[in-house]
Amino acid sequence: MKALAIIFSNIHNETIDELTRKRTTASIPFGGRYRLIDFALSNLVNAEVVNVGILAQNNYQSLMDHLGSGKDWDLSRKNGGLVIFPPTTNYKSDTLYSSRLAALISIKGFIESQMEELVVLSDCDSVNLIDFNDVFDQHLATNADITILYRRGKCEKDLEQHMNFTIDKNKRITSAQLKSKPNEITNSCINVFVINRRLLQGLLEEAITQGMESFHRDLIFNNIKSLKIYGYDYDGVYLHINSMENYFKNNMKLLQEETRNQLFGDKNHRIYTKVRDSAPTRYGFSAKVENSFIADGCEIEGTVINSILFRGVKVGRGTVIKNSIIMQDTITGDNVKLNYVITDKNVTIRSRNNLSGCEKIPYYLNKNTMI
């Protein structure tokens, strides 16, 4: 086993406030039956990385509920498997850790006691299909200390706050900026790193003794010259979920055949998620469904157009759902009209309600709301 992985589960809890009020970024529902962390975990498991630690800082009940023992990802193992790290207090004071670096320091003991040579550090704020075996191959071939995954292209708004790099022809990172300017062509960091485990241990020791605070600034940015840091160009599908607007837009991309094929077309690269044993979806006599992505366990009597339905959604007679994301166990009565609406889990919408948002600002209904 080459690598272990550490996943940061709370990333955009501020920028995507609505969806993370009661959950971590990692457990944001996506694409009918998934949570964001499913994509990161599936990528790792498909590359035979089966020792995975998940750093949870707050609101991680839903995450723990989703992950269970990890067996749905084949991560319930004697050697390795899934481990969740609840927060410990800061090593200097009594507050919860607040940075990526402090989080890593809090599990320094775990990192030291593992056997793997490499460590994958990954956010789970995006839907992607990273082939980690390919990343490891490049990491070993370039004899890198750290390999950082990036996307080359015009910097969209969502990657503005991310580090960006200049890279020489041997893929070595020669300089870095901590923020990008929108619309410039950049190599933007997607916050997935591969680092040699012993080096990481050393860097964490150093961080403790020198009181460092930032992973990006102190460990990466300041070491560009002194360490061999390489870039890995990830040019596959990348759906970044860091705002409500992006959340809506990227879910809706699943209605395009191209995105579906990219994500689900390779039968050797399955996306695993929690098994819920839902019954198949039942379409009634008056059902009318167009261009929609629908999970199991739904019962549809009404009309569904350009929408994503999660597991266990009920659509009443005469109800019309358009351009909406309807999460798990949402129940709509009869003659309800929804357009550009996101309902969170367990929402109940009684008969004859008419709700509408718009593409930029979809109307969002909190978990367990009843209208």
Partner: protein
């Protein structure tokens, strides 16, 4: 938990199911697909685990590979237990020779030592080819309360159909007084469902005696039950009310699938407190395209529907291309139906490829019968397959064929 088990289940899953024709040439009947995402055995296994019966021996014999792989360690049914859980029990070689399971009773007889391992007080005998939801625990409680040697689950059937079943005649306390296998003139309408609970000691006694009898057919219905009745054992009938279907024929398999759809489906699989578990692999949700038309149907994960689906049950990862019409049919997993093809009143097995403009079956009416396409078959462009056909090999166009 680690002591004696109160009751363990033995599930008979070795039958060939020859009346399912092409559907069982390569798999045992309990492994045949059902209701879009299930296999027939899921219902019995789910009943076990929902009834807190955590030890199940599955007796296999005919074409067991798909079934063995499907059951695996039993994890999907929560039957991967430290002590107990689900175990596959094929025929084996013993010191004094080896033999196939000669009958239902013989299959259990050959695995007495498996039962002995758990030292249960009672043994539940099930068959893996029925579709129903039943709380075996309630039956067990009745069995214990009555202090019965054997309790047999019975179902009221229309008297006109009673002669197709094993019929129990009971006294007013529910004690079985007489058992008739497929009687010409049935005296009651209580049909045996093939679900028995025995006191372990009695079961052992009669199985050992049955094995020593060379004239016996080693069958529960034909030998063990009549013999116990004749020797005065206390045999109780346990009346079951609810949906129950023997899916041993193409017609009944088709009907049972239809019972999952309609305005008020006669068989409800949406009860969150009685889930039907099945082995799930990571498949994405279904996609319904812009021009698709779907009415009164059941569709599951991974399906891609561009055509028209009416009164049908569609399995996982099935693709129905543009202009294709599927009506009154059951399609099993991973089958592809090409554009312009019409499927009417048919059952299409797993991994079938149907090219363009194929016509299978005939509109459902009182005279037409169901067309069946077997596992992995390839039907080429423009082929016409008649109603009632049973196709096990690829069909290329050569005018009209069946």
């Amino acid at each position: 938990m680690y002591s004696q088990k109160k009751c363990i289940a033995m599930l008979l899953a070795g039958g060939q199911g020859s009346r399912l024709y092409a559907l069982t040439t390569k798999v045992a009947k309990p492994a045949v697909s059902f209701g879009a995402k299930y296999r027939i055995i899921d219902f019995t296994l789910s009943n076990c685990v929902n009834s807190n019966i955590d030890t199940v021996g599955v007796l296999t014999q005919y074409q067991p590979l798909v079934l063995n792989e499907y059951i695996g360690n039993g994890q999907p049914w929560d039957l991967d237990r430290t002590f107990g859980g689900v175990h596959i029990l094929p025929p084996y070689q013993a010191k004094n020779g080896s033999e196939w399971y000669k009958g239902t009773a013989n299959a259990i007889y050959q695995n007495l030592s498996f039962i002995e391992n758990y030292d249960p007080e009672h043994v539940l005998i099930l068959s893996g080819d029925h579709i129903y939801k039943m709380d075996y625990n309630m039956m067990l409680n009745e069995h214990i309360k009555n202090d019965a040697d054997c309790t047999i689950a019975v179902l009221e059937v229309p008297l006109t159909e009673a002669s197709r079943f094993g019929i129990m005649n009971t006294d007013d306390m529910g004690r079985i007084t007489e058992f008739e296998e497929k009687p010409a003139h049935p005296k009651s309408n209580l049909a045996s469902m093939g679900i028995y609970i025995f006191k372990k000691d009695k079961l052992f006694k009669y199985l050992i005696a049955d094995n020593a009898d060379p004239t016996s057919q080693n069958d529960f219905g034909k030998n063990i039950i009549p013999k116990m009745l004749n020797s005065g054992c206390k045999m109780q009938a346990y009346p079951f009310k609810g949906y129950w279907k023997d899916v041993g024929t193409i017609q009944s398999l088709w009907e049972a699938n239809q019972d999952l759809i309609g305005d008020n489906p006669s068989f409800d699989i949406y009860n969150p407190f009685w889930k039907i578990y099945s082995r799930n692999i990571g498949i994405e949700p279904q996609y319904i395209a812009k021009d698709a038309i779907i009415t009164n149907s059941l569709i599951t994960d991974g399906a891609k529907i561009e055509g028209t689906i009416i009164n049908s049950v569609i399995g996982s990862s099935v693709e129905v291309k543009k202009g294709a019409v599927v009506k009154d049919s059951v399609i099993f997993a991973n089958t592809i139906i090409g554009s312009g093809s019409i499927i009417e009143y048919s059952i299409i097995d797993e991994n079938v490829i149907i090219d363009k403009n194929v016509h299978i079956g005939h509109a459902k009416d009182t005279n037409s019968s169901i067309a069946v396409i077997g596992r992995g078959v390839h039907i080429f462009d423009d082929v016409v397959i008649k109603a009632g056909a049973n196709i096990e090999e690829d069909v290329k166009k050569k005018g009209k064929e069946e």
